[in-house]
């Protein structure tokens, strides 16, 4: 962040909406991305990301700087989305597991038609929401295991295990779908 984050937070605590705008501008893709990864629906993700930022503005006085601001922000995002899923799609939170390649569009031909990233996103939706969130937080936002643990509430060991299993599962699903990693780098 170009401006000092702590200064911006101090201003937001005083109700400065311009400072808050800067924070939203900086984190909006990350918060929207995490929301989208969790709920797998663009409309819902946008709404939840906005709710998250409104919650952040309302409760920023409770942020004491003990953890990174991004960790605090992602924790609010994660909790907002998980609450939403539990309320609206309880089955998805607990049950959604990958059971082979039969329940989604598979096959090399289909993947050839799609953008590689879209294909991976499609495969990602077959993981459980919290596993997707962990992948998002680890690979894209480059959070440490400890930070992911703070965000999601899982233990460090649990996060490591989930991350490892999710990665293996993803690799397996991608192979089963005929996804060629080398093709991506050509």
């Amino acid at each position: 962040m170009a401006l000092n984050e702590n200064q911006l937070i101090a201003k937001v605590k005083l109700g400065n909406t311009d400072a808050f705008r800067s924070i939203v501008d900086y984190y909006r893709d990350a918060v929207y991305g995490l929301s989208l990864r969790l709920v797998s629906n663009q409309m819902e993700a946008e709404e939840l990301a906005q709710d998250t930022f409104l919650k952040v503005f309302k409760s920023i006085s409770s942020y004491r700087g003990e953890s990174k601001f991004s960790t605090w922000l992602y924790r609010i995002t994660y909790n907002t989305c998980i609450s939403h899923l539990r309320k609206n799609k309880p089955d998805l939170v607990e049950i959604q597991e990958y059971h082979g390649s039969s329940n989604f569009n598979s096959g090399y031909d289909n993947l050839m038609k799609e953008d590689n990233n879209e294909a991976i996103k499609n495969i990602l939706t077959k993981l459980k929401p919290d596993d997707r969130a962990i992948i998002q937080l680890f690979y894209l936002e480059e959070n440490s295991i400890k930070e992911i643990s703070e965000i999601t509430g899982f233990t460090n060991a649990n996060v490591k295990v989930k991350l490892h299993r999710s990665k293996q599962k993803l690799k397996r699903m991608m192979e089963e779908s005929g996804f060629n990693l080398e093709r991506v780098f050509v």
Partner: protein, 123 residues
């Protein structure tokens, strides 16, 4: 980071929809405005004028209480003075003004707040 990680990282990138930030700020401003209606400011402009007038009138009344108000048979101040001496406290004229002023302020604030709260419930 191996090839797989890199591919995954690229695939995970998302862009928030355009107008996302503006939408949040608009919601925030609208929310603050709503809250402004729900919790009224401590005093309204119109109410402040009424308050000043009330204060002026009450001050006149309190000043009109003569030092020897007990002998002043028909003064308004006499009744006020009796009321005050009823609570066994010796009031000098300046203290009377102060007490009346505070009483008027409190009364005004209560009436003004209740009035505006009722108005807000109607909104």
């Amino acid at each position: 980071m191996d090839e797989f990680d890199q591919v995954l990282k690229n695939a995970l990138e998302e862009k928030a929809p355009s107008g996302f930030t503006d939408s949040i700020i608009d919601k925030l401003v609208a929310k603050e405005q709503r809250q402004g209606i729900i919790s009224p400011p401590p005093i309204s402009g119109k109410g402040f004028i009424i308050f000043l007038l009330s204060l002026f009138v009450f001050t006149l009344i309190s000043v009109s209480i003569p030092e020897d108000s007990v002998q002043s048979k028909y003064s308004i101040g006499k009744y006020v003075d009796r009321l005050l001496t009823g609570i066994h406290f010796q009031f000098t004229p300046s203290l009377k003004i102060l007490v009346f002023s505070i009483a008027v302020i409190c009364l005004f604030l209560i009436v003004d707040y209740v009035f505006r709260s009722r108005k807000m419930v109607q909104i």
